[in-house]
Symmetry: C2
Subunit: 209 residues, 2 copies
DNA sequence: GTAAACATACCAACCAGTCGGTATGATATC
DNA sequence: GATATCATACCGACTGGTTGGTATGTTTAC
């Protein structure tokens, strides 16, 4: 009874704004998404927006940080396959998962920071840096698994784990662009399948001959 | 003396506007680039802009079409290596060329239509379609060379020429995103090297063991 | 001379950001 | 335990500047 809930969890407005930004920016881009639009989608007032964020740019930075946390959870923590013991199998399951995600409209599977950084790399060092941090975090986390696979199975041509991780990220980002251009995830999925074949070949040149 | 220069090449304003759009959009994105900014960079008045284009969107469509012509010339017509007889060597020279291009600031090597389509796919069907046409044209042209290589050397797993062409395009588009995020083309180049290794392995699994 | 190729001045809508104010709840004072 | 004080969360009207686009006039080409 005396359970002091202290103050009611009033994270609400701030995180609703970030969620709305994730959705709208992925659909329309950063510059084309206005603060008013984000407020309307989040169902909060403009006053609330500027209470939580000093500027639109600051929201972008906060949304990038939140995106990192969200992605790490969604991709590296929650899914059951992350507990596969064999590191190569785990890596391939990761690729299959990214493949599986390529469904529905682009705002459902594309990358918030990847979209944002394209428009802001030259105009806002804060946004560029926040986006880079988010993408780098993904690559470094993925490189851990790749490193484990290399340790157990070796890899061709002395390919490094971090280099392959960046390549995975590049293929995914490119697949998102193609999916938007084609208005269909079909070529994007094909491209990820090429990536999977490449990884298999890197770890065993003659396996699925 | 009476050398009638006939009419001075007055393609000038229109194509200066398109060139300025190519540069500015690649640097800042489509939405963040204003009509006034494009006019200023092109050194023409706003009246001239709307004399040649009914709207900013129409400039985008025209710039996409111009981009297709420019890319076809720059990549598939002018370079000396396009006359290499062996189709696989020609394909690998193509990849090397794309690798070689990844230098200097991003607005010098990134893709105008790739940048534009990310911001416009959901808001302007005209821009999305024009961008898709440009990217598709590149892929279909590249697929001709890949098809020739397949005919001469075979390829693993029954990979199709057009599918591999889209994968090349995806890796390049992804590499552009990574280069912008990292503020350096290093990881982008590494990714294209992965692509080159993949293509080599597809055409000869055990070649450079 | 006339039609295309520009230039200048202007407009309404929209933009990010400001500001005065309110509602609420925790803490301090007596 | 009632009251004063303070901090946080939020609201929505407002502002100065920017936006894409227009109206109208001038210059150039043939």
């Amino acid at each position: 009874m005396s359970s002091r809930v202290t103050h009611a969890p009033r994270q609400s407005a701030r995180s609703k704004l970030i969620d709305a930004a994730h959705m709208l920016v992925r659909k329309q881009g950063y510059a084309a998404t206005s603060v008013d639009e984000i407020c309307a989608a989040a169902g909060v007032s403009k006053g609330a927006f500027f209470h939580h964020f000093a500027s639109k740019e600051e929201l972008g930075v906060a949304a990038a940080e939140q995106w990192t946390a969200r992605a790490d959870e969604l991709i590296f923590t929650l899914p059951p396959w992350v507990r596969i013991e064999d590191p190569l199998e785990r890596l391939l399951a990761h690729i299959d998962f990214r493949l599986f995600m390529l469904e529905g409209p682009p705002e459902g599977f594309t990358c918030f920071v990847g979209t944002m950084v394209q428009e802001s790399f030259a105009s806002s060092e804060a946004l560029r840096h926040a986006s880079e941090a988010s993408i780098s975090a993904y690559c470094e986390r993925l490189a851990v698994d790749i490193e484990a696979a290399i340790a157990r199975y070796r890899i061709r041509d002395g390919v490094s784990a971090i280099s392959l991780a960046w390549h995975v990220q590049a293929v995914l980002q490119g697949a998102f662009v193609i999916a938007k251009a084609r208005n269909s995830p079909r070529e994007a999925r094909d491209s990820v399948l090429h990536l999977k074949r490449y990884i298999k070949m890197l770890f065993d040149g003659g396996e699925n001959r």
